[in-house]
C-alpha cells in the first residue's frame, strides 16, 4: 500500500540530504510519495538531479523562508 513519507534533513549539508533521500527511496514502494524537507540550497538541486537520474517523478518543490520541500513520487511501474 502506498503512502507518504517525510525525510527531515533540516540543518544538514551535502551529501547528507541526498544520502537520507536515497535511503528513503530504497525502502519505498511503488506509488509512495516522499517529502524531503531541508534548507541546504545545493542539496535541493542535487536531490532534483537524483530524481531525474533514478527515473522518479518530481511532483513539486515548495520553498518558504529558506526551507524547501522536494516532493518525489515513486512511479507505480517501478
Amino acid at each position: 500500500m502506498s503512502g507518504t513519507k517525510r525525510v527531515d534533513v533540516l540543518g544538514e549539508t551535502c551529501p547528507v540530504p541526498l544520502v537520507e533521500t536515497r535511503k528513503a527511496i530504497r525502502k519505498s514502494s511503488p506509488g509512495d510519495i516522499i517529502d524531503v524537507v531541508g534548507n541546504h540550497p545545493e542539496s535541493k538541486e542535487e536531490i532534483s538531479m537524483a530524481v531525474d537520474e533514478l527515473g522518479l517523478e518530481l511532483l513539486d518543490i515548495e520553498e518558504e523562508g529558506g526551507n524547501w520541500t522536494v516532493k518525489i513520487k515513486i512511479p507505480e511501474d517501478r
Binding site: C14, P15, L18, V19, R22, I25, R26, K27, S28, S29, P30, E42, E45, E46, M49, A50, E53, L54, I74, R78
Partner: protein, 389 residues
Amino acid sequence: MDMQKDTIYLDNGASTKTDKKVLEAMKPYMFETYAVATSDFAYTMGIEAKEALNEAREKIAKELKGGSQEIIFTSCATESNNLALKGVAEKGDGDHIVISKIEDFPVLNTAKTLEKRGFDVTYLDVDEKGFVDIEQLKDSLKDETVLVSIQHGNQEIGTLQDVEKIAKICEEEDVLYHTDATHTFGRLPIDVSKVPMDLVTVSPHTIHGPRGTAALYIREGTPIKKQMDGGFQENNMRAGVENIPGAVGFAEAVDLIDEEENERIRKMRDDLIKGITSDIPDTVLNGPEKERTPQNANITFQYVEGESITLHLDMRGIAVSTGSACFSKSLEASHVILGIGGDHERAHGSVRFTFGRFNNEEQVDKVIKDTSEVIERLREISPLSKKEE
C-alpha cells in the same frame, strides 16, 4: 524499491567478483572433502584435504617463484601484514622499522601499534606521484633497523614502487624487506628468486578469488615470531584450522591469471583516463601516468565532492570509490592524496576507478559519458565552482 541496475563495477581495488570457476573449485572442499588437513597417519579424507592444501600452496609459490614451504596461509591481507611487521619486530634484535607515508592501513596502523609498544618508526616521504624517496630510505637505515615495509602498488593512486631497488638496498644493509603486494599480485609479475624480498603479502580478493583467505611469503630462514597462538598449522607459523576451500579457491584464482587479461585491463584503464581527462576540464590524474598498477585510475575533479560523484554515478549504475572524508570509515580525507602533497580539496574531489576481469570497453564509454554529465551538472550547482567564477 531496488535501485540496482546492471552495475558497472569499478571498485575492483576493494574487492572483486568471485569467478564461478573459483567457486566450483572450492565446492568439493565444503561438501565432499571437508575434513581438516591431517597427517598421513590419519583417515583418507584428511589426507586428501592436506594434499589439496599443499597443492594450492605450491601453485601460489610457483607464481611468486618461491618455495612452497615459504607460503603461509592467513585469513586476509591485513593479517599477513600484521604477521610480517609484528612477527619480525618481535623477533629481531633492533627497535626501528621503516615504512612509507602512503602504505595501506594494515601496514600503517600496525606500524603505529608497534610505535606505541616502543618501536621507532620512520615514515618515508613520497613525491608528487607517490614514489618513495630512495635517498631518504638509505639515510633512514641504521643498526637498529629490523624491517623496511614498502608496498609494491599503491591502493589508491596505483603508484608502483621500485621494489627491486628497495629490496637490493635492504639486502646490502642487511635489513629485512617486506612488501604488501595486495594490489599487484596476479596483475604484475613478482619474482622472489630474483628480487631479494623477504616477506610478501598476497591476496586473492583482488583477482576474482575468495575473501577470507590470503598468504604471506616468508623467505626461508627469516626470523619471525608466530602471532596467532594455538595449534601447529602452517609450519607452526599460523595456528587455526586451515581454510582449505579458501586456499583451493586462491590457487584457482592464480591459475586463471592471464597476461592477455592484464593487458585488456590496462587498455581499458588508459582509455578511461584519456577519455575523462580530455572530455572534462579541471581534472587531475593522481599518481604517475605509466608506472602504476594496470587496473587503477584515480582522478580529482575540481570544484566537486567525491561523495556526490560516487552517489550520482551509483544512481546511474556505476560503482566507484573516493578519497573524500565522508566516504571513508575513518571520516578523514585520503592520507595518500595528502601524502603526495595534495590539499584537502584535491582529496575530497578524488575518485578511484579500478578495473577487473568482468569489465569491458562498452562500459568504459558509458562511464566516460556519465561521468562527464554528472560532473557538469554538479559543477553547475557547486558553490566551489561558483566561487571560482
